[in-house]
Symmetry: C2
Subunit: 79 residues, 2 copies
């Protein structure tokens, strides 16, 4: 069975980059495959993020949960 | 050298419990030792959380960063 995927959504903001560093470093990548999505450059994925309950970035969608990590930018600002 | 400690602060709220489940499951505990602190029952540690920059719970203090995970309750409500 392949590992489930965790998706980290961000927009390149300073708060995003700090959170990305922490997630990349401390997430147990033996349990999940980490995908990092920049919604500023991958605008087509904003809809997917929204469907997962992402209201702002940075956010991590993992194991059926959406965790907003601090606050960088509202998703609505990225549309 | 002992592992650095990551501290997860919460207050038993539903949002806190969800975040705790994700942190407990997905944090790489080979890299950090996870300590879970319930600020509702350990009120003496609110000052320490505040000094670490925690504004609300649940929050994870890790590797010099303070990550607020969604929003359960303001720290000021726990004093």
């Amino acid at each position: 069975m392949s590992k489930p995927t965790a998706v980290f959504y961000h927009a390149g903001c300073p708060v995003c980059l700090d959170a990305e560093a922490a997630v990349t470093r401390y997430l147990d990548q033996g349990k999940v495959a980490l995908e990092i999505v920049h919604l500023g450059t991958s605008k087509s994925r904003v809809v997917e993020a929204e469907a997962a309950g992402v209201k702002s970035v940075p956010a991590l969608v993992i194991g059926g949960q959406t965790l907003h990590l601090n606050f960088g930018a509202a998703l609505s600002a990225l549309k």
